[in-house]
Symmetry: C2
Subunit: 220 residues, 2 copies
């Protein structure tokens, strides 16, 4: 089954106190988004990529790509109002009978090994979701107070979340719910059992300005 | 109420692939443990510190301190088998009617503001526990599978966890339970309501080698 990849680039740069959306910011002389694209191409040079990007930024990204000689070819489509609708749009570009991963543009530090495990699990079990242990103690917020919970019962979820495309397409015919925070939650709500695989702790989601410096440590 | 601080330095360096325990490793030309001590002294120069350290390392730490002209004065006592017993030992050195914080030696990036909020909450409410939002999606591991949970219902717990000393002493008369992963869980089990305060996201616990590089970004 051929591998496809949907990259979701939702950010608009507000939290990064920058006019440039964070996925376009350079780390080690390369835009974060291009780091992300490159690691998937290194995993499999034949992977077919669909980039979901706010229409506002299509021109800016093409300019950045040209100026920096980013040659990778892929389809660019426009984003939806919520992540859910962005992925739903992108799924229209994905054929049946393939394996499709969905990855956050701002996770450039994903390892080739994590990608390999997630796609392999999707081939075998229908889905593969990379997770890592929760590193800090957790408390659950309840009415007015909070209670300690056993962090060993929880895992932190990363991307790429990979699926047989028919399963993901079927799951995305459901009505949107606010509890759909990632693709695994959508697929689980459609009645499928979720299979987790080992992620890599460097695979952080770049959201804060300091995350750029952390990503610099982890990126090649 | 006078401020006291228990610093728990449990590490033995195994995970850091180093013969030197991680709390002694230098970041920006200063041992992690000394960074930690310095930020509390900057918060309040009169704070009384009890350092809990494996007996194996008392001599090494005194040597490092002398060679590097670390002049801060404090008591050093030996650690217990579990963190619980280390804190319990240290509490014997803490007087009644004071405010006591318990802090991980390997959290040198705690901000003065976080420390101030935790001690102030302990003065007012009996305890103050710094927390930050959970940044990644969470899944709860159940028999054979896992389910999505709403991460907005959870917070990540940091230190210093601060208490009226009488409350903490009383809580530590309980029998040890494996669910006692931090001081808040011990105090909660003794029947007290936990009060959370805002932590700071830089306040990471240094456990992995890459955390040293991240701490370098955050430390002064």
């Amino acid at each position: 089954l051929k591998p496809y990849l949907i990259i979701v680039a939702g950010g608009t740069g507000k939290r990064m106190q920058s006019d440039i959306p964070k996925q376009f910011l350079p780390v080690k002389n390369k835009a974060i988004l291009q780091h992300t694209i490159d690691v998937f191409v290194a995993y499999n040079p034949d992977i077919q990529i669909v980039l979901v990007l706010s229409e506002l930024y299509h021109k800016l990204w093409r300019t950045i790509s040209q100026e920096n000689n980013y040659y990778t070819e892929y389809q660019i489509i426009k984003g939806g109002k919520e992540r859910f609708f962005s992925v739903k749009n992108a799924l229209d570009c994905i054929p049946p009978d393939c394996i499709v991963g969905v990855h956050d543009a701002v996770r450039p530090c994903v390892s080739k090994e994590t990608i390999t495990r997630a796609y392999a699990s999707a081939r075998r079990h229908g889905n593969g979701i990379p997770v890592v242990p929760v590193r800090e103690s957790l408390r659950e917020i309840t009415n007015q107070t909070s209670k300690a919970v056993d962090r060993n019962k929880f895992v932190s979820v990363q991307t790429p979340q990979c699926f047989k495309s028919d399963i993901l397409k079927k799951a995305y015919t459901q009505e949107f719910q606010p509890s759909f925070t990632d693709d695994a939650s959508v697929v689980q709500a459609a009645g499928y059992k979720i299979h987790t695989v080992k992620g890599n702790i460097e695979n952080i989601k770049i959201t804060e300005p300091s995350d750029l410096l952390i990503a610099e440590i982890f990126l090649p």
